[in-house]
Structure formats: C-alpha cells, structure tokens
C-alpha cells in the first residue's frame, strides 16, 4: 500500500497540454487520497525532469508514483528504471496514458478531455495506492540451447550459437539432417541444389566442438523453466538428459498433399510442385523434358493449392508465401531445359514479392501465359489418357472459357505445419488457428513465445522461403544469446497468486491454465491452489474461474481494478 504518492503530469511539449488543461489536472488530483506531491513537467522523459523526480522521491520520502504522460508502450520501462534509481519499487509506479488515449483522441473539446484526464489519473493513483512492492525472480541460466529440428533453420541457428560460445544440441527426428531441403531440388536465388547447401553446413558443423547433432531423435520430457530446462531426449536407442537454458523450435513444415481428385490429383500426369522440382533436377537430357519416358511439351501450373482456402471449412486460410516465387522460378528452370515448352500458369494473385518479381517478368518475356482465377471458380480438370484438360475462365478476353490441353499438370502446393503432437504436449507452445507456432507479437517480438526461454524460428511459425527462415533463426539465436550470456534471468513478477484465506480448494480452476501452472497443495488445515511462478505467464485466464475471487494477477488485483473503477466514477457520484 502506498500513501505518500507523487503524481507527475506531463505537457509533452504541447502534445498533451494543447488539448488538456494540465495544470487543472494537477490541481484537482493534488487533494486525492494518498497524494503527497504533485507537479507538472514540460517533458517528463527528459533527463532533467527524471533527476528532479528522483530528488522529489528521496526528499519527500514518496512510496509510490504516478506519471500521466504518453502510452506505457513508450516509457513504462524508462520510468520503472527511474523509480528504481530513486530507491522505489518499480511495481509501485503506474503510468497513465493521457496522450494517445486522451489528448490526441479528443482534440475538439478541451474541457471534456481535461475531465477525462483527471479521471484517468485518479484511477492511476488508486492503482498505485493499492499496489504492493514486487520483486522479479532471478534464475541462473545454463549456457546451452536445445534446437528441435535439423533443417536449414535449425542448423544455421546452431552455427550462430556456436559462434557466440553457446553449446547447441540439435535434435532431428529423421535419420539424416537437412529436412525439406534434401529433396527440394534447385533453389532460388543461387541456383544450388538444396542438399548442397545442407552438405556445406554439415561440413562446418563437424568442425565444431560445441554442436551436437542427434538423429532419429525426439524430446520426450521437459522440466524446469527459462534459463534451466531439463530435457530428456532419445536418439536411436540412446536416452539422455540435457540441461539447457533455452529451447528453439525449428520444426519446419511439410508440403501440402492434395486430397484425392483435388484438381485431378491422383492422375499420373498430375504432380505437385515439389515432385516437379525433383523431376527437373533429375532431368538429364538437355533440350527435352522427359516425364515417365514421354517428352513434355505443354505444362500447366495451378497455384494456391492448399493455401488461401477462405471458403473451405477448416481450410488453410493463409498464403504459403514461397510458392509463387518458387513456381515462377521452376517455370524458368523448365524453360532452361526446353525453351520451346509451352507453360500456362493459372493463378489467383501473383505474389513474387521483393526481388523475385523478376522471375515473373522473365516468364512473361519467355512466353509463359498467365490466367487468373478466383476461389469460387477454380479450374476444372479432366483427362483423356495421358492428356490433361484444364478449363478456366479467362478474365482478359470477355470472360471466355479457355480449354488448355497439356501433358503435365503441376499443382503449386503450399506449406502446412508439422503436427508435432507429442512435442506440443510436452512444451505447451501456443499454436495458432493455422497450426503454426504463435509468436508474442509478429512485429515487436517475432521469435519469442509466451513461454519464457522457448523461441520459434523458420517455417515452424508460418510459411517462409529459405532466406526468411534463416533470418528468423538468426533472430532466435541472438535472442537466446541475450538471454543466456548474462548468466541469469529476471522473471516478471506480475503473475497470478492465490489469496490463501479465500481459497476453498474447490478445484474449479484446475483446468483453467493450459500451461499447467496451477497445482494443489496442503497448507496447514486445507488443500489450496498453488501457482508455479516460473511457469505462470500472468495472463489471468484463471481469475474469472474462481468463485471466491481467491485468484488474482499481481499488478492487476481485485482491489486495484475495483478501486480504479470507483475512482473513475468519483465525479459522477459527487454530482
């Protein structure tokens, strides 16, 4: 509980004060319960203002502060650190957003905006008043990492960790490393065969003492938490326990397999892009493309197979991202073998983004023809012997139907997530609707999961091409390093806790935590719920499940929230 609170209201140059009467806000809240000191600042985040605040905290013996300024997304950490420098517990600091959520939103009515700002500051004061000092949990870390998945992302990540002095264990479920790259054929943009790239990495890895590769291997058990996980793995017949500070999931994707008869799939002359790429890299005769002993002269590609299925129930809603570029690149590889080939691309949208647009342009120049279709009207596929006939509506010439006879139909199949049921059961990593792993924030925290110490990279988190996969695996490596190299890690203390005297041990909360942070313990005279602080994420998902209000999240306690609600209604009650 804080009862000597300092409140600082920011002008933010004019960003706030142009639309909110900052002085009036300060004057009004000065008399609030618990407020010992109130002041305005031109720029609260400036060094001089921070020094002044530190002095005020020390001189006036303040035990809590409220700063009304911009969004906490910008300066929560800044001011928490400032509080700490002043000797205050950073969790007795509350930031009130009167810029993005007040002055900037209400530029037309200064009086009403000022009233709103007063209410918001009052709520902030109430929150600080009901706060308790919290201390982060410090955990020592092990300077080793476990990478699950020995494809390009995992291998490249292992090398990056090795270079930073972190021991990397790579667990690969297959008998050899390399994943999808082993049989993906020639890859863009460097025209190498996928397996050659893997061979290069393997050579490099063999030279290093701090990378261990386990094949035919899987994780069977995980205990512990961030900084110190205890992982049991089996590799072949061998069983071993690894102590690691972090886990990186690079479990990759599998190519979408069309359903029987989906766009003619099942007919011997209807194959997937992945199979076609294999065919191309095995085609030995220059000048002729041979399939099943027959020369191929006309090829049709149908795009978005297994991707962007917005109307299909349980369909893959996402774009598989790499396939437009890959199909266009493949078409060029085919032209390289036989420039006289006729190639027809039936697409929904061509997304050869970034540098790969040139593949599309080059296909246009080399005579490939493109036909756009929409999901509601997919091409109709029929066959007569070995010939495939594709009927598609052409939007370019008065919606005529076009019949394309060809020797080979290539289904440009997308990516789907590996199921990893056993692994997910052990790690509890959040999975999105699309079955790929979910990051905390796609832009701000793109390789972190809500489980501290578990990172995701490569196509395990969504469709990517190879360079994007490696980029994310580099990010996961550096996030791992920044976590482990210090030797210890602080865990946010804003997690769930049990109000012991209220808990009746009814166990209604038993299944509310998907991370299994809740267990039940014997406490003196009764069985009550208990939270494992290293596992709890602080989401509060368990809070509404408790009929006794015995569960709450520190920093968002029942008393804090209810007092905030009450303080916002103060004016209304006075009237």
């Amino acid at each position: 509980m804080s009862d000597k609170i300092g409140v600082f209201v920011c002008y933010c140059g004019g960003n706030i004060s142009d639309f909110v009467d900052v002085e009036k806000v300060k004057d009004t809240i000065s008399g609030e319960e618990g407020v010992a000191f109130a002041k305005t600042n031109m720029f609260t985040c400036s060094d001089s203002a921070q020094t002044e605040m530190i002095n005020a905290i020390k001189e006036k013996n303040l035990d809590g502060i409220v700063i009304a300024s911009c969004s906490p997304k910008l300066h929560l950490k800044t001011f928490q650190n400032m509080a700490q420098r002043a000797g205050l517990n950073p969790y007795q600091y509350t930031q009130v957003n009167i810029r993005e959520q007040c002055s900037w939103a209400h530029t037309h009515n200064k009086e009403a905006a000022t009233e709103k700002a007063i209410d918001l500051v009052r709520a902030g004061i109430a929150k600080t008043r009901n706060s308790i000092p919290l201390n982060p949990l410090r955990v020592n870390t092990v300077n080793q990492a476990l990478i699950i998945g020995g494809g390009i992302s995992g291998l490249r990540c292992a090398l990056a960790l090795s270079e930073m002095g972190i021991f990397a264990h790579v667990v690969e479920k297959e008998s050899k490393i390399g994943g999808n790259l082993n049989d993906i054929g020639i890859i863009f943009p460097d025209h190498k065969n996928g397996y050659e790239l893997i061979e290069e990495l393997e050579k490099d890895i063999k030279k290093r003492a701090n990378i261990n590769i386990y094949t035919n291997a899987k994780l069977i058990k995980k205990q512990g938490s961030v900084g110190n996980f205890e992982c049991d793995i089996v590799s072949g017949n061998e069983k071993l326990t690894l102590n690691v500070g972090s886990i990186i999931l690079t479990t990759g994707f599998k190519p979408y397999t069309p359903e029987p008869n989906e766009l003619g799939y099942g007919h011997p002359n209807v194959i997937t892009l992945v199979d076609f790429k294999k065919l191309l890299s095995n085609n030995s005769k220059k000048g002729e493309l041979i399939f099943n002993g027959q020369r191929v002269r006309e090829i049709t590609y149908v795009y978005c197979v297994g991707s962007r299925e917005s109307t299909k129930e349980d369909g893959n809603k996402y774009c598989s991202r790499y396939c437009c570029s890959a199909a266009n690149y493949t078409s060029l590889l085919a032209f390289d073998i036989d420039p006289k080939l006729k190639q027809y691309h039936i697409y929904r949208d061509i997304r050869t983004y970034g540098k790969y647009e040139e593949y599309y342009e080059e296909n246009l120049r080399r005579g490939a023809l493109f036909f756009k279709y929409d999901e509601e009207n997919p091409p109709d596929i029929s066959s007569k012997g070995e010939r495939i006939k594709i009927l598609v509506k052409d939007r370019l010439i008065a919606k005529d139907d076009i019949l394309i006879p060809c020797d080979l139909l290539v289904l440009v199949n997308g990516m789907v997530a590996n199921e990893n049921a056993e692994l997910n059961n052990i790690l509890k990593t959040p999975i999105g609707k699309d079955k790929f792993y979910n990051e905390i924030h796609p832009k701000l925290r793109p390789v972190e999961t809500v489980i501290d110490g578990i990172f995701i990279a490569g196509t395990s988190q969504g469709p990517k091409n190879i360079s994007e996969s490696v980029t994310s695996s580099m990010a996961a490596a550096s996030k791992t390093a920044s976590l482990l190299i210090k030797g210890y890690v602080n865990i946010e203390p804003t997690i769930a806790h049990v109000i012991e005297e209220k808990c009746t041990g009814c166990k209604l909360c038993e299944h509310s935590c998907p991370y299994e942070a809740i267990s039940f313990v014997n406490k003196t005279d009764k069985v009550i719920a208990d939270i494992n602080p290293a596992i709890c994420k602080g989401c509060g998902g368990c809070v509404p499940d408790c009929p006794e209000d015995a569960l709450e999240v520190l920093g968002y306690t029942h008393s804090q929230i209810n007092s905030m609600i009450d303080s916002m209604l103060l004016e209304a009650k006075e009237c």
Binding site: R297, E298, K340, K342, Y344, E361, L364, R365, R366, G367, A368, L369, L391, D394, L396, I397, D400, D401, I402, L403, I404, P405
Partner: protein, 100 residues
C-alpha cells in the same frame, strides 16, 4: 470456349522480336491510339498467344488498319514491341491466310 492451340504461336513468333507475352494487360496502349482500335492490342495478342486463329481472322481489318505509328509503344510499361508484333501477325496472315 477457346481451345488453346499451342502450335500457332510458333508460326507467328518467327523471331525474338515477337514479345506479346510480356504484355501484362494494363491497356495503356489503347489510350492514345490514333486509330481507336476496336480490338485492344492486348486482346489481339491474347488470341494469338492462345492460338485462336478464328478470332484473329475475324480481326483482319483491324490488324491491317494499324498505322504502326508506335504511339502505343511509347507508353507501354512492359516494353512490348507492339507494332513489330502486329507486323508479324500481318506477315502470318498474308502468307498463310490471305493468299498474298
């Protein structure tokens, strides 16, 4: 319905200058055309690329009414050799269809 006839293009595309497939169908070519082509070059090229001989023959007068003035090429974002393409289509028609 148009059945793709992949053989026709090989007869018309007798050299690399024929680059109708580079057209991405924006239609800019028609904007300043002095003739006011009834059939847009992109549409004509599409028929050619698909091998629809009947549709091409229907457009004979149009094909021969092009001035070859290259106004369209000046605007074309894809650098399609529109007039040379038309000339080669004429060449095919004159030789194979019009009995010249």
């Amino acid at each position: 319905m148009i059945k793709v006839n992949s053989g026709l293009i090989d007869k018309i595309k007798i050299d690399e200058n024929f680059n109708a497939s580079a057209c991405f169908n924006c239609g800019t070519c028609s904007a300043l055309c002095p003739v006011g082509f009834d059939i847009l070059p992109r549409k004509l090229f599409r028929y050619v690329l698909l091998g629809d001989e009947e549709k091409i023959l229907e457009s004979t007068d149009q094909i021969f009414s092009c001035l070859l003035c290259r106004m369209c090429e000046e605007q074309c974002p894809q650098e399609v050799n529109i007039t040379e393409n038309i000339r080669l289509i004429r060449s095919y028609l004159a030789k194979s269809k019009l009995g010249v």
